[in-house]
Symmetry: C2
Subunit: 224 residues, 2 copies
DNA sequence: GGCGTTAACTTAACGTTGATAAGTTATCTC
DNA sequence: GAGATAACTTATCAACGTTAAGTTAACGCC
């Protein structure tokens, strides 16, 4: 019919996948989507743009994801996975419960500031659909393969750490869940502010992070 | 003055406005938009739905607002004006500097939870075009009538309060700006979390707000 | 009372968006 | 070879924000 020269627009040399290798395309889509989401935001990163960058037609994305939201969810899990890895490393190497929590906060804040775009994508959420916004917390944790459960996993680690702290004999001003929520909210407030308003003349970053950490940990520890 | 005032709130939706009274329609649009934004969220509240509720065609909205965003911004200023009012009332009725700050935090948190959409747009959101994005902080405050300046005004009040607290002889652990940032970040963390993850089984709201307030204020006050 | 101006609208349409239906092509197994 | 079917495309949908261009009605003025 036609010359088989694939002289299309900006289409890369990606050819049709062989039979058993569709998952490869799935990963390509995720990579392209991640880049575009971070570059332009959720709304501006249209499925057509994503498909274009992959070098494939737009409906092809629906072979691998139920809808645009599902792409977002998959990316969320990817990001959460990296954080959870770091936290696991802390749990393995640090035994003192209080020290663990400090290290958790440190790792959490550092992770956020080192990957501001991903943090924004996952933890802050913006104009994104309802289902995606719930990613962080609402879902049941019993099935870790379920999309969008990573946030809950991260948070539950903090709760566990605080329970262990209490079990070790340290008196807390609130129940462990409440303490965890307050700790997370404080650190998240710092990270979110620094990420979302990078041009504001904030005080020194380390001062703010360390300051909030001190404030929050002092605040939940019952004063003897 | 006015012969008939029949169109105050339950307006005859389909009637064309008389010559000098276009601003009346503007207010109707704002009211309808506010209701719809709160009922269904920003995205789901389409221009056509808003126009429908007003009883007017969709393009008619563009006679009064540059675009959909401008409607939201107008609503933001409207509601932030109320927060600033509350803060002003606190400043007038409460003389003790520390008490002022507590009341500020209380009013701020309550306001955020009462107006989650406006709060999200101004203090959290970022997916919105550049002009709206800076709304929170970086904006010049010299023109208070400028759309979207409410956030910066609110924050500057807190800085002032903390400077006054220090001037009153109370020793702080950090400079007033840093203290203001930490206070704001803590409370913002609570409000943002409650707004963005409304379905998570958080601890009692009042406990969290009051708890963060205690934590943060204790944290910035130099321990004697 | 008629006329011109113009504020206050309407209808029609544009370009995109996310998503679906239905058809096509290439690779596998037999 | 002949099916079967994974991988993909083209054509199309309804809904979105927004614009262009035309219409209606209220006023001042002669």
């Amino acid at each position: 019919m036609e010359p088989e020269l694939a002289a299309s627009s900006t289409a890369p040399a990606t050819s049709r996948k062989k039979r058993g290798e569709g998952y490869t395309r799935r990963d390509e889509i995720l990579l392209a989507a991640k880049t575009l989401f971070l570059e332009e935001g959720y709304d501006a990163a249209t499925i057509r743009k994503i498909a274009d960058r992959v070098g494939v037609s737009a409906p092809a994305l629906y072979l691998y994801f139920q809808d645009k939201e599902a792409i977002m969810l998959a990316l969320c899990d990817q990001t959460f996975g990296r954080l959870i890895e770091r936290i696991s490393r802390i749990e393995k190497t640090v035994s003192d419960p209080l020290e663990r929590i400090c290290r958790f906060g440190d790792a959490y804040a550092r992770f956020g500031l080192e990957h501001p775009d991903e943090y924004r994508l996952v933890f802050i959420g913006h104009n994104i659909p309802e289902a995606v916004r719930k990613v962080g917390h609402r879902m049941p944790i019993d099935d870790p393969t379920r999309p969008g459960v990573g946030g809950a996993l991260v948070f539950s680690r903090l709760v566990t750490m605080l329970s262990q702290l209490e079990a070790s004999g340290v008196k807390l001003n609130y129940p462990p869940d409440t303490c965890a929520e307050l700790c997370w909210m404080g650190i998240h407030g710092v990270v979110a502010a620094l990420i979302m308003k990078p041009d504001f003349p904030w005080s020194n970053r380390e001062t703010l992070i360390q300051g909030m950490q001190d404030i929050v940990i002092n605040g939940i520890l019952s004063r003897a």
